[in-house]
């Protein structure tokens, strides 16, 4: 996994609550056997009219050229529903490095963390402040300081992440590396269980 430290970029506001993973990547695109290429189908049915790439829906945020950047800002309970990690793969493949919301669905949050897409949990009031910004405003997310700052107003908020996960993301370590490193403990646990 690639290491994450500071993300400084403009953002894409998706002011909608309960965005489920079926919207992020519809089920008909889950037929792949690799992790690649999901970005082109990100938010597929919100992006295109009748599944036609030649007919982008003008009112959908990803189709508005004035909004760009590697940070997605969304309403609460982002990523609810299906556990499909393809949602995190699609966001990553499209170019998002962080998603900001007032809270995330549990499974999506883990999937994002496992794919170097940083889920940043902010207070509801801070979320509304971000939504109130102009399109070209930069957000600065510092994983090291655990802060998110609106560059234009210099308003900052701290966000939580446990120190283990932070260390992993800063260094690009995967959970699987850690689990493999404690395999002796796992084997011991199994032996205890059988006694």
């Amino acid at each position: 996994m690639k290491a994450l430290q500071i993300i400084r970029d403009s953002f894409v506001p998706l002011n909608m609550e309960n965005v489920d993973t079926d919207q992020i990547i519809p089920a008909r695109f889950l037929k792949g056997t690799t992790r690649d290429g999901f970005g082109k189908n990100l938010f597929r049915d919100w992006r295109y009219e009748n599944d036609n790439e030649q007919k982008p829906k003008a009112d959908f945020i990803l189709n508005k050229p004035q909004y760009k950047g590697s940070i997605l800002v969304a309403g609460k309970n982002f990523g609810c529903g299906s556990s499909r990690e393809h949602a995190a793969w699609a966001l990553h493949d499209y170019g998002f490095n962080a998603v900001v919301s007032s809270f995330f669905a549990d499974i999506f949050k883990n999937n994002a963390l496992n794919n170097a897409v940083l889920p940043v949990v902010v207070s509801d009031s801070f979320l509304q402040k971000i939504f109130a910004q102009n399109k070209d405003v930069t957000l600065i997310i510092s994983l090291l300081d655990q802060t998110i700052t609106i560059d234009a107003t210099q308003e900052t908020e701290l966000f939580e992440i446990n120190s283990y996960k932070k260390e992993c993301l800063l260094n690009g370590y995967d959970d699987i590396d850690y689990l493999i490193s404690v395999k002796t403990d796992i084997v011991l646990y199994e032996k205890e269980l059988l006694k």
């Binding site: 002011n15 909608m16 609550e17 309960n18 489920d20 079926d22 919207q23 519809p26 089920a27 008909r28 889950l30 037929k31 792949g32 056997t33 690799t34 992790r35 049915d45 009748n50 599944d51 309403g75 609460k76 309970n77 609810c80 529903g81 299906s82 556990s83 499909r84 990690e85 995190a88 809270f103 669905a105 549990d106 499974i107 883990n110 999937n111 496992n114 794919n115 509801d124 509304q128 446990n162 120190s163 283990y164 996960k165 995967d174 959970d175 699987i176 850690y178 689990l179 493999i180 404690v182 395999k183 403990d185 796992i186 646990y189 199994e190 269980l193």
Partner: protein, 466 residues
């Protein structure tokens, strides 16, 4: 110290805990299917690892399989490749697979319980959010992503943080025509699609105690729709009677030992819950959803809420939902025209569901312009239905009994609802496009779905019950 049911199972499965971090949680059973496993197998291979405990894994093909002519090769190229990849991966790694053609094949959350693979006190994971179903047996069971599937392949463990504890007590007698599906849709309508995020939910109370295992599975199944990590119910005689004699249930001396352990699985009297919710069963009527998340449900006699009853932040999603569904605020849900009826999915495709529907539709005919698909949860359910003559009842009513799979719950195979059409469905999600691009889903119980099949519109099933 007093512990909750969840804590008893959790504490027993902790290998170690990282300081200010997650715990290494040992996983007893790992269920896999064709859609969320291929990248995990590839990952293991790429790292030069082998599957650590292949005997603790069980595989089936369900999400992508056709529900007619399962004996023929899968027509759709990508679906066939995915199912073939699962067969290849299971063969190479010595994993038990109940694929197409196997008498145990079916929806992963239907076959685990009916084979006795799911047992009280276990930790169970699967790359599917509805793994919460297995919690009905008093197990910690939850859905995981593909990276986590890979972790369990490599180490039989996951890194997990302990969720907060919630208990939902449902007490009293259910009214006529009200099923377990209505209980969970009612809870969802009260606490919303995010009301239990960060929690493990234990269901308790006399109403829950009186549910069959099938009914309990329906409730636990949709716990994920509240955002919860998992849902569970303390095992009791109903649970033990269900598990006993199943193909993979413990036998003889092992059964006695297991039973002794399972009887200790309940929340202690003084156990601490971070949140507790009380529900009176008498308040629950047959439920139907009108919107695009499972929390957007109302009683059959209620009206779609008005926009002004929502908070400013919630309005965009509410308006989008009504526009997608082609519905208006303040309208009644009863009488809404229906085009398709889908009775199936890991929520409601078990033999009890099919029996209820068959009993109700016997001697009745479906409405002329409605298409009705009944998709049994497994080969075993299908066989049982045929043995009981349920297939004949469906045929006479004009219902199509198909072959097992996830089918129109998520429309990964050919079973899709056309754009703009209304489908009353016993599945678990009414998200936009869930049953096919543009499809409009109304979630309801098997009885409510059957009633709509007969009348062609959303109907209060109680009016049709004797």
């Amino acid at each position: 110290m007093a512990q909750t049911l969840f804590e008893k199972i959790w504490n027993k499965h902790i290998v170690k805990t990282i300081n200010d971090g997650p715990s290494v949680l040992y996983i007893d059973k790992h269920l896999i299917h064709e859609v969320t496993s291929p990248q995990a197998f590839a990952g293991i291979k790429k790292r030069g690892l082998t599957i650590f405990r292949p005997k603790q894994i069980v595989a089936t093909a369900d999400h992508n399989v056709p529900t007619i002519n399962q004996h023929l090769p899968i027509k759709e190229n990508l679906s066939r490749i995915q199912v073939d990849t699962l067969i290849k991966n299971c063969t190479e790694n010595d994993i038990e697979l109940y694929g197409l053609g196997h008498p145990y094949q079916g929806i992963v959350h239907v076959i685990g319980p009916e084979l006795g693979i799911t047992q009280p006190g276990m930790t169970i994971v699967c790359g599917d959010s509805h793994t919460s179903t297995h919690g009905a047996f008093g197990a910690i069971a939850f859905g995981i992503g593909t990276s986590e599937v890979e972790m369990v392949f490599a180490t039989q463990c996951l890194l997990q943080t302990k969720p907060k504890q919630m208990r939902i007590n449902v007490n009293g007698e259910l009214k006529k025509g009200v099923l377990s599906k209505d209980i969970v849709l009612y809870i969802l309508s009260k606490i919303s699609a995010s009301g239990a995020t960060g929690f493990s939910v234990e269901y308790a109370g006399s109403t829950i105690r009186n549910l069959s295992m099938e009914g309990r599975m329906t409730v636990c199944n949709m716990t994920i729709e509240m955002g919860a990590r998992c849902g569970l119910i303390a095992p009791d005689e109903t649970t033990f009677n269900y598990v006993k004699g199943k193909p993979f249930a413990p036998k003889d001396e092992a059964w006695a030992t297991a039973l002794n352990n399972w009887k200790k699985l309940f929340s202690d009297d003084n156990a601490v819950f971070n949140e507790e919710i009380n529900i009176d069963a008498a308040d629950i009527t047959p439920m139907v959803t009108y919107g695009t998340n499972p929390g957007m449900g109302i009683g059959i006699n209620d009206f779609i809420p008005s926009e002004k009853s929502f908070h400013e932040k919630e309005k965009p999603a509410f308006k989008k939902a009504l526009s997608y569904m082609g519905m208006r605020e303040g309208e009644a849900i009863e009488g809404q025209k229906i085009d398709y009826v889908f009775i199936g999915s890991c929520t409601n495709s078990r033999i009890e569901d099919l029996r209820l529907v068959a009993n109700f539709v016997q001697g009745k005919q479906k409405a002329a312009d409605v298409e009705v698909w009944i998709v049994p949860g497994s080969k075993q359910v299908e066989r049982q239905a045929m043995e009981e003559g349920i297939d004949k009842i469906f045929e006479a009513a004009g219902f199509q009994l198909r072959q097992p799979g996830c089918s129109a719950c998520l429309g990964m195979n050919e079973d899709k609802i056309p754009a703009g059409k209304y489908c009353i469905s016993t599945s678990n999600r009414n998200f936009e496009g869930r049953q096919g691009a543009g499809a409009r889903t109304l979630l309801a119980s098997p009885l409510m779905a059957a009633a709509a099949a007969i009348t062609g519109k959303v109907t209060d099933v109680r009016d049709l019950l004797n």
